[in-house]
């Protein structure tokens, strides 16, 4: 099988504009069709280490991002997402095509992949110790996740934690890390070698830039992990680094609140989440200094300085 990087720009554009690019991300294959150069640029840069399947193969998700036709092609051009003939999102300015692509890829998984319990959370792993970071927007989750990944932690996911219902293992879905507003410059300064895409201002989440997932994380697509800790991060300017234990009951409720499909799965979701909570320690985590946060996470993973 080949990688996106093996295709070359011309073939990438041809597939996206024609039969579709069959892009593998974690356990999923998406057929992506788009006539928008920003989408081709983004895939070529951010997914260059991802496997692709041969055209005509099976895809879990059908993703079409098209530029509006008619007058809209010239006057305030827009991007539209078409999923199996339906348009679940309102059109956005075409300059936001790349963030929209990432949101669409998240939407497909969180709305369709119910063989997993899906939690709105980052997951990283080091030394066999996987840590789940559930958190609402603005908590500093993605900033912390990006910083950990830039310091040797494996990225399983920045946004969607996939918990395999059959055995509770965490299934990798290493895709770009979404950074917002001030976090973009924080990570640029913290890890100058990190590969960040262009900043896109004016989205409904502010300015967005994506950090490419490390090639090693993308390559470990089949290496599942078991959650040892579930940490709810909260960035607070000037705060001391503190880790506060949570009771199992509190932990269960907080994770359920952050799950996309807990209510869809019913008793099976309850059992899956209870098993996850049973095997992991829960903590509230407050931080302001990334280096201190990373040192603490390294200690959780048993990494000696």
């Amino acid at each position: 099988m080949s990688l996106v990087a093996d295709l070359g720009r011309a073939e990438l554009v041809r597939r996206l504009g024609g039969p579709g690019l069959l892009l593998r991300t974690g356990p999923f294959v998406s057929r992506i069709q788009s006539n928008i150069p920003l989408v081709a640029d983004g895939i070529g840069l951010m997914y260059r280490d991802n496997l692709i399947e041969e055209p005509g193969g099976f895809a879990d998700f059908q993703v079409r991002l098209r530029q509006s036709s008619g007058l809209r092609r010239w006057w305030h051009p827009q991007v539209r997402f078409d999923h199996d003939g339906r348009e679940p999102f309102a059109p956005l300015p075409v300059a936001q095509a790349w963030p929209m692509f990432e949101w669409v890829m998240n939407w497909c998984v969180s709305n369709r992949a119910h063989r997993y319990l899906i939690v709105h959370a980052a997951v990283i792993e080091r030394n066999g110790c996987a840590i789940i970071l559930p958190a609402p927007p603005g908590s500093g989750k993605s900033t912390l996740c990006a910083a950990l990944v830039c310091r040797g932690w494996r990225l399983l996911s920045d946004e969607l934690t996939l918990i395999r219902r059959s055995d509770g293992m965490l299934v990798p879905l290493a895709r770009p890390v979404s950074l917002k507003n001030a976090s973009i410059d924080v990570i640029r300064a913290f890890a100058p070698d990190a590969l960040l895409g262009p900043s896109v201002p004016g989205t409904n989440k502010g300015t967005i830039a994506h950090m490419k997932a490390p090639a090693t994380s993308v390559a470990q697509v089949g290496d599942v992990a078991r959650a040892r800790h579930i940490v709810f991060p909260r960035y607070e300017a000037g705060a001391a680094t503190t880790l506060t234990p949570m009771s199992k009951g509190q932990l269960f409720i907080r994770v359920a609140e952050n799950a996309f499909n807990y209510f869809v799965l019913g008793p099976a979701g309850f059992d899956c989440l209870a098993d996850l909570v049973e095997g992991a320690d829960g903590h509230e985590f407050c931080y302001s200094q990334l280096d201190e946060a990373i040192a603490l996470f390294d200690r959780l993973a048993g990494v000696t300085p």
């Binding site: 269960f252 409720i253 807990y262 019913g266 059992d271 909570v277």
Partner: protein, 101 residues
């Protein structure tokens, strides 16, 4: 019997319908999934014992004090009030309903 609140009701209580109790207990925390409503609740071990008993048979309110005394160290001075409060909570969550014996 017409519907009544827990505080107004002095008869027996039962679990509604044939729904299975899905729960996990970790020390003083019990999480329970209500199959009927799809809601998840964080409860106490005392609540779980009461629900498990009502799952077997409708239970008069007066018998609950005896059941709780069998399982937990209770304060007799507040027990009647604690039972009433627990029934109020479980009733408001639609986990129990009044019934005739």
């Amino acid at each position: 019997m017409s519907l009544s609140t827990a505080s107004e009701h002095a008869g027996a209580w039962r679990r509604p319908g044939p729904a299975v109790l899905h729960y996990r207990q970790w020390q003083d925390d019990v999480v329970l999934f209500n199959e009927v409503s799809g809601a998840t609740h964080l409860l106490t071990p005392e609540a779980l014992v009461v629900l498990q008993h009502m799952d077997i048979t409708p239970t008069p309110e007066a018998a609950l004090a005896v059941i709780l005394r069998e399982h937990f160290e209770v304060d007799d001075a507040t027990l009647a009030h604690d039972v009433a409060e627990l029934l109020e909570q479980l009733s408001s969550l639609n986990l129990i309903e009044p019934c005739l014996l």
